[in-house]
């Protein structure tokens, strides 16, 4: 008699794994994933990819890395988060999702606090000093980033006209040209991918958490809870997000975090509707009745038994939601209400429109990036929807 506790020989794949495998079997979703992957790499390693300061220098045999001295708190937290995620993904230890999430959150909060203590923010960096320094000091060797311009490195002093088409100038190589202040467009694009990704994930994450909790309660309890919840949903659906954002920008100034929260707070109603409908269906299913008959606590019924079975349509909505959050931010920045200093794709488009002459490189690259990103998320959303399609699920025997 073999004990079940000994070695688990037969462990079949879970539903999510099957769905993901099917989702990314098509070329559309693969391309989408690849583009998002490129964006993630660009966002995480932005200071090392596009910066005016050298990565490594050697002066009389002593090696130093000037770029590290100028890293901001955000740069460090993003880097730590990235490597922790990679480690967690690769680690052979398999914990529950709950403990992993908790661990990840602790790391993020911890590293934020620690780096706030130790990192002194360098203000008013004069980027041309680095170029002067490189010319005057006699370094043994220098490793520069692939794009040797920081996004705010405006090259004002060295240039007669700051505006340059791609590869126009022979002295400085700008692969995508420069904007009207002389900043390198490619460098700005790379740094802006951070905002695009961050706003997409965080705003949709906030919306999803609120939507799942409220929608779940509405669906499970139905009756009066459902009625009140649906009225709340309708109230939030009637709020025009854009005008609320404009108002908040006017009141509280321009902050990417406020933007994330507002977009999140106003877009949860769709997710709540999805989850409510799913829970209304699941509530009467036999396996949920069986959990009630076994006296399981409500938390387990809602989140272990019902949520995983109802999350599928939400995942599809999620990928479309990320795309629309990115668009919302781009729209705000385009209207000139985005962030002041930091570059964002929408703000770059705005510059292209406002400039007196039409400079195609200022419109094509950020516009193309917005288009590609939204397109990538939509491709993945479509593929996910196909993978979750009930007919297919039926074939896999998941849904009756």
């Amino acid at each position: 008699m073999n004990k079940p506790t000994e070695k688990v020989k037969h462990r079949s794949s879970g539903f999510l794994r099957r769905v993901l495998k099917h989702t990314f079997s098509g070329w559309g979703a693969k391309i989408g994933l690849m583009w998002v992957g490129i964006l993630v790499i660009a966002a995480v390693f932005a200071p090392f990819l596009a910066n005016s300061m050298p990565l490594l220098v050697s002066l009389n045999g002593e090696i130093s890395a000037p770029v590290f001295r100028y890293l901001s708190v955000e740069d460090i937290v993003v880097l730590i988060a990235f490597f922790v995620l990679i480690l967690l993904f690769l680690s052979p230890l398999r914990h529950s999702i709950k403990s992993l999430l908790l661990f990840f959150l602790i790391i993020i909060v911890g590293s934020t606090i620690v780096s706030k203590q130790f990192v002194t923010v360098q203000q008013n960096v004069v980027y041309s000093d680095f170029r002067e320094d490189l010319k005057t000091t006699n370094y043994d060797w220098v490793v520069m980033p692939p794009i040797p311009y920081a996004p705010e490195d405006y090259l004002r002093d060295s240039q007669a006209t700051p505006l340059e088409a791609p590869l126009e100038n022979s002295e400085y190589t700008h692969w995508m040209g420069t904007e009207e202040n002389g900043g390198d467009v490619l460098s700005r694009m790379i740094h802006a991918s951070r905002i695009a990704l961050g706003i997409g994930f965080i705003a949709t994450g906030i919306a999803m958490v609120i939507g799942v909790i409220l929608g779940g309660l509405m669906g499970y309890f139905s009756g009066i809870v459902d009625m009140l919840g649906m009225r709340l949903v309708e109230i939030f659906e009637s709020i025009p997000t854009l005008f609320l954002l404009l108002t908040f920008v006017a009141f509280f100034g321009r902050s990417i975090y406020i933007m994330m929260v507002i977009i999140g707070l106003t877009s949860w109603s769709g997710y709540a509707r999805y989850i409510r409908a799913e829970f209304l269906r699941l509530r009467k299913m036999d396996f949920v009745q069986a959990t009630i008959a076994s006296g399981l606590p409500l938390r387990s019924i809602l989140f272990r038994h019902m949520l995983p079975n109802g999350i599928a349509p939400l995942l599809v909505g999620l990928s479309f939601g990320v795309a629309s959050a990115i668009l919302a931010e781009a729209m705000l920045s385009f209207l000139g209400l985005g962030l002041v200093g930091a570059p964002s794709w929408g703000q770059m488009l705005n510059q292209a429109v406002q400039s007196s002459t039409f400079n195609w490189w200022m419109a094509v690259y950020p516009g193309g990036a917005i288009f590609l990103t939204v397109f990538a998320y939509n491709l993945m959303g479509e593929a996910l929807r196909d993978a979750i399609d009930p007919q297919l699920a039926k074939k896999a025997g998941v849904v009756g």
Partner: protein, 566 residues
Amino acid sequence: MTEKNASSRHLVEIKQLKTYLQSANETVKAVDDVTFNIEKGETFCLVGESGSGKSILALSIIQLLPAKISHHPSGSILFDWRKQSGLGLGINSQQKTTYEKVNMLDLKENQLCDIRGSRIAMIFQEPMTSLNPVDSVGEQIMEALLLHHPEMSDESARDRALTAMQEVQIKDAESRFDNYPHELSGGQRQRIMIAMALACEPDLLIADEPTTALDVTVQAEVLKLMRELQERKGMSILFITHDFGVVSQIAHRVGVMKQGKLIEFGKTKEVLKNPQHPYSKKLLAAVPENLPKREKIKDPNSEKPLVRVKDLDVFFPIRKGIFQRVVDHVRAVDGVTVDINKGKIIALVGESGSGKTTLGRAILQLQKPTAGSVKIDDHELVGLSSKELKPWRKKMQISFQDPQSSLNPRLLIAKTITEPMKVHNIGNSDEERLELAADVMEAVQLKRDFLWRYPHEFSGGQRQRIGLARALALNPEFIVCDEITSALDVSVQAEVLQLLQEIKAQRDLTLLFITHNIAVVEYLSDETIVMKAGKVVEQGYTDDVCGNSQNSYTKELIEAVPRLKL
């Protein structure tokens, strides 16, 4: 000459037919080398368990399978196509009739459309989904008529449709003509389907499990109607069913299918009485009537009620108007008083909508009763909060009908079984609980390492066993079995029923077995409760209730059961 006569007797000749279904990367031999004839004016029954290919065979005859996923590597389906030229329908018309033998596999789509509906008609299992919900039933019959007889005027089509409705014994056909499908009962809807199929006077009617979704009394009426209509009209019927009782009621000849092959066919009496093929023997032996009878407990002295239900009401409010005012109630359970004696198997029978499932769930407090009392071991359950109910939850468990929805598809079986144990503090560690769960799996005759699988990897019968295992894991005293064998094939049903008895004996369980299948009741239960429209009609020892009931409703119910007449 004799040869010609013989062949003209056959309406359909199927020779070496193969139908292969193509899915993503595998070919399923749904129909595999089947040869048989359907003669004019006979009822040919196809029986077999689910997945045996009987429906695919029927769809192959009428050529309704999508060409994209199916093909016929070999075989032929010869159909004696009756062609009429000239106007009119029925006896008075003046028309010339010619016969032409055609191979259905070679016909073009427009020729097939001429045959479908007018020469070969089909009715399906679920009459609600087969009818268009936005047209009245009369219009739908007219539409079928006008499609095949475009020369007909609207008035004469209406008259024909009305006649067809009267033929299928729909009372007050004139006023029913303008009803929509949802306004009719299941039996009436199936009659409308039959009327629609018969309106064009087809030579062959294919009936795919037409009575499976119906209650047993309604089924008896529909079967009687089909027998009469067939004798009157002289058409042939290809009748597909899984129920040997129905076979013995209606079929002239019967064919047994298994995995796409027609393993045996012949005269109904001969096949049922003296099956040749081992599989037919096994199937017939698994029919509840043929299972070895068990000793029934019939001792009034040993009776001690475990669960006492008194004056239990479960009402569902009907709300109407803008203010959702409660105008009336659906009385799903209406003043039920029942004692469930310890250590017995009690059957709860009734037709659909009689409130038996609601009663079962109300006893377990899964459905909040409107009024009344439910006591287990003299402890009142009605009105307790979910926290107060928790200690009682492990004493009473439930097992469900639908094997598809009764297990959480996202959880390992191990998790499904051990989670309730943890909540009720059974076993001290996860390892111990897994060990206990594996023991329970063995008790329901499954392998121990099945714990590490997901529900979709199991067959329907296995899932029902897992459902039982989940209930047993808490060591309950009382289990409500809600139609647990209804969705299963007859041979699997027999296994589960035998398993249920073994477990009951080992663990000294009390079972409330909810079912609509009288044969199962007679085989399994010690006592029987009969429900109708929310009320208990009769209650007593199974032998008394099923053998010589005094109640008129019970009598009607028992008589309607299609029996294997041997």
